[in-house]
Symmetry: C2
Subunit: 209 residues, 2 copies
DNA sequence: CTTTTTATAGATCATTTGCTCAATAAGACT
DNA sequence: AGTCTTATTGAGCAAATGATCTATAAAAAG
């Protein structure tokens, strides 16, 4: 075998600043684990990244540490902190607030990586998953219940389980799309607005407010 | 009836008829894989069953074969064949048909093993999962759309995506309970009936019919 | 009882997989 | 240029894991 590849761009090693390389690894790991599951092996991941497997352990002491970094990357900034206030801003119609939220939220979460990492981490009982759901309930859905109670014109009073039902019906679109890989509408916004309108109507809240 | 069962559980070796042993392995595998995921290893499974690991391979040529048997066991008889006719039986009020279906269906699927094996198999793209969902859409939800169209009194016409929304909102209860392990109502029937009523109301269908 | 059958156990193989470490070379600095 | 730092590699270890094979003993048959 002749040692030819001295300056071959593709096969020669490329040094990156540690911060950059670390981020590259995390990004690749997110895509990789989302696809094959969290038990995907580090050799395949390294191959996909175009680096050696041992390099991964230069940036993460254990595979679990890497997965933890994947979790943090994926869960980061998924719940914008300004939604609680926007959802309770009664200068905007309740319907509009709900549409704004779920339009924005669905574009954020109806993504292959998020949906699948979220589901995997949920199945394996990851703490971040539980914390996220508790947070969602506390700062989004619970205030939402209050807003709907306030706006309700029918004799029916909403309970928390109703809000989870609205939320679940919408989230289920993303589950069908990315977990089950079923054919789904390209744009879920119509399905969302119809679900929101049905929900509000049942509490006597007309589209106007 | 047989007195085989009085054998000492801790005794070194217990012979079972092959059919019985096979079923015991499949049952144990369902519980085991539901808990730890489909990558759970065969040694832990054997330990839990109280048999040697090599015995598993006497009944299943490969681990994949065992998992296939797990799938079949779990997916078997989950969709009763008489629901299509019951759901379209217009001598019963539409609301009652929906309540009957989802009450029965939720007791069938809101179970730890089913929910988790279904989700794992979905994530890994199992054929049985896709076939199940297609079947569900074809023989349950599609006819349901027809029934709601027929009974609708409002100007709104339901579309398939609305039915998936109703379905998803209900199924999400089981996902919260068994995938995310969140605190959930012990009995989901009230949440279900409220969701059904909201849905019907939005199409102008009163509880009477 | 003895013999036969075969379900089961125990030892073991061949890979796979997480992880380590010394050697190497890319890029920065003089 | 030459030197130094360190990001990266390649070889390899130890444990885990799917799978194999033969010896064993439980239960049935004679």
């Amino acid at each position: 075998m002749a040692k030819v590849a001295e300056c071959d761009e593709r096969s020669s090693r490329r040094r990156l600043p540690p911060g950059e390389r670390r981020q590259q690894i995390v990004d690749g790991a997110v895509a990789f684990f989302a696809e094959v599951g969290l038990e995907g092996n580090t050799r395949d991941l390294a191959k996909r990244l175009g680096v050696t497997q041992s390099l991964l352990f230069n940036y993460f002491a254990t595979k679990d540490d890497l997965i933890e970094a994947v979790y943090e990357q994926v869960y980061l900034n998924r719940l914008s902190p300004d939604w609680p206030t926007r959802l309770t801003d009664r200068s905007v119609s309740l319907r509009q607030r709900l549409l704004d939220f779920y339009t924005e939220y669905s574009t954020l979460i109806f993504q292959y990586e998020w949906m699948r990492i979220f589901m995997f981490s949920g199945l394996y009982g990851a703490q971040l998953n539980r914390r996220y759901l508790k947070h969602l309930g506390d700062v989004i859905l619970r205030p939402l219940l209050g807003e709907i109670e306030f706006a309700a014109r029918s004799d029916e009073t909403p309970v928390m389980e109703d809000i989870w039902n609205l939320h679940g019906g919408i989230v289920y679109i993303g589950i069908r799309q990315h977990i089950y890989r079923m054919p789904c509408p390209d744009d879920p916004s119509e399905a969302i607005s119809r679900a929101v309108d049905r929900f509000l109507l049942s509490f006597g809240i007309a589209p106007g407010d």
